[in-house]
Symmetry: C2
Subunit: 457 residues, 2 copies
Amino acid sequence: MTAPKKLILNLFEMNCVSHITHGLWRLPGNNRHRFNEIGYWTELAQLAEAGGFDAIFLADVIGAYDVFGDSAAAALEEGLQIPNNDPMLVVPAMAAVTKNLGFGVTFSTSYEPPFAFARRMSTLDHLTDGRVGWNVVTSYLPNAARNFGLDDQIPHDTRFEIAEEYLEVLYKLWEGSWEDDAVVIDRENNLYTDPSKVHRIDHVGTHFSVAGPHLSQPSRQRTPVLFFATASSAGIARAAKHAEVVFTGGTQVRRVAAEARAAAVENGRRPDDIAFLVQAGVITARTQAEVDVKLALYRDHASKRGRLVHASIPFDALAHPLDRTLGEALAIDGKSQHPAAATLPRDKTIAEFLALIDESWSGPFFSAGTPEKVADDIERWLDEEGIDGINLRQYHSFDTLKDFVELIVPVLRRRGRLRESYVDGQSLRDRLFGEGDRLPDRHVARSYRPVVVGSSD
Amino acid sequence: MTAPKKLILNLFEMNCVSHITHGLWRLPGNNRHRFNEIGYWTELAQLAEAGGFDAIFLADVIGAYDVFGDSAAAALEEGLQIPNNDPMLVVPAMAAVTKNLGFGVTFSTSYEPPFAFARRMSTLDHLTDGRVGWNVVTSYLPNAARNFGLDDQIPHDTRFEIAEEYLEVLYKLWEGSWEDDAVVIDRENNLYTDPSKVHRIDHVGTHFSVAGPHLSQPSRQRTPVLFFATASSAGIARAAKHAEVVFTGGTQVRRVAAEARAAAVENGRRPDDIAFLVQAGVITARTQAEVDVKLALYRDHASKRGRLVHASIPFDALAHPLDRTLGEALAIDGKSQHPAAATLPRDKTIAEFLALIDESWSGPFFSAGTPEKVADDIERWLDEEGIDGINLRQYHSFDTLKDFVELIVPVLRRRGRLRESYVDGQSLRDRLFGEGDRLPDRHVARSYRPVVVGSSD
């Protein structure tokens, strides 16, 4: 009999007021408006570590949601991912007050030079002693492109091509520039580093030219744990090559996992070299009656408009009767030809569309109930839906986390679904995959290691 | 009778092994090789705060010193500013364990997009609650340019022109994009921000196009305290317009201060809107005998080669007799035409040149002696040399800092040269200039504030 599959447990966060559960920042006792304060992050991290979470996963955008009403006004009103702050900079504060919690930070390959980013991630990996991951994104907001000197969004395929070269540059810097034994710290001979073991990368490509050497000495993990969010086939191909953790849409996880695992094997990797995570929502309390009260309170505070702004639909659907179809409403508002309307399901009513885009209260990875009921659902997600873990959505900060830690974690542990404790001082990668701190040699990044003269193999 | 001038007291640091006092990382008990660890930074920050320091000032480079011997080998051997890590990312860790200490971080305007940097600094200002400064540099290492896709260093004048537009973009984002009362946090009306008080900047210039709005809401200081390191006349003109703190070469401080203050007045600023700092070295102990032992030990560990590498001279001067002139040595090594030799004083002997470039043990702002003697020197620097403060050079981490805190700080306080304690929770700018958290209206940055409709003035 094999041991039951254990849950990878991340908290889903963003350095802003309203990340996903729009309108809920207004709940009594919600701390989300405190996101600017360092105390918000240190308190959150300590709670997550007390509960044995694997990591806090930080989303990010570098522009405003300004498609709805052709303006950022609604996003600003809702506090919807604007204002926001840099996600990387809260990690050292959280790392200073924790010892085992991991951190996944989102960073886009589209707008900033790889050399500076490589050093930032190495710095984080040093400061956390191997507890960081990178969520590789290419950005999708048109406003983001305009913040970085472009007239409009870079086309999807070009973004992916840039990202591919970006990763190549990073692998050369992280894996190839410094040999493992380059740093010798020989005080007697005033020799900190053996220069024969440090290499320029002299990368000259289509999008980047980078001389090197990398400025940081090798950190514990070298390459941070690689997260990719995807569901598209181009995304799956990319993930099969690069990803260690894939974060994917709830309804598609089985298909995405099967395709990505098969493609990973074609890349010389193992099927379980990639873990699959979904965003999940849990609302719990000691009794079902309390759960019902909490659920009603949360739903009552939810903002429908927030969901529409977040979905970047180009008109105010709530100004129409809810039984009108999107197609009719678009025509009435003169927005039928709007580029952002191209993929909308025009035959659906506005009510149907709202239900469709609001996964916060339903869907395959939502569970509202007593701890035993939620644990049942999570076991089913692991065993039947095929996931490896969750990014836990926050309805209320810090109540969602506290509830999970107090009520769900003990049940999952009793059922053998969550480790009893951390292996103190373990790196994030080693905790997730059990093969040590570094990427395995079968990962493409390791092909950029320098050829070591005199090596016996 | 006016109160005696008080000292602005910063600790000079860099996220690397060997910052300035090359060779000394090998001293017994020196912690510099621990720069990769978060504990190095939190311990350092707590010591500095216990001693009432104004700030930790973090230098940075984004390339390797590879002119000496046409290679980075010597810099790597010496641990000379390589390996190094990102300076910004240690600030949140230090901020998490302190309450009043400030942080000055170096960042170059030459290679990374202003939009992302603007958010990073706003994030730091939020996390520290108004305790950050920015040391504005344009970078000078040729290797840095090659790490960011360029064939060679951007010419000096172009770097300054880019920097000027960079600052304009930042001022628009920091000062102009969000009005003071934009964030309302009105839970009843689901209104986090009043969108009529948030503005795109729509900057279109020679080097940058940035739409905005700024992603971060206004932080306590908005624009971080602006540090400039300069001594050239172009630098002074720039500083007179922008700088709040000027960090300048020891032998030139009186001239630089006089010129910059006069030029500041022409810009509508006040002479004391700019504070002048020098790098200073202090070696102290309870008795002169102990000082002498310490000084001898430190000098014994100092690396002459480190100074030559740091000075980017293009040949190994130490392979020649010390009484040979630089001109002769250059000719013998066939390096007379090397671009990096252009500004060398060819008539000086190598011994004279070494003394000239090694300010660590001499010069106008070096003091080795008992606490009373050092305090005498510091008072003279303040009253006769015209400085406002120092960046304290570290010979030994953490002994240099501990000695200063234990032995010098009490004497300076007794003499009224250092505040007795922090005003708890004060911003860095308010502590330095006493006019509140924000830049005064006479600073150019404030001219980018939005025109507020209906304002009475």
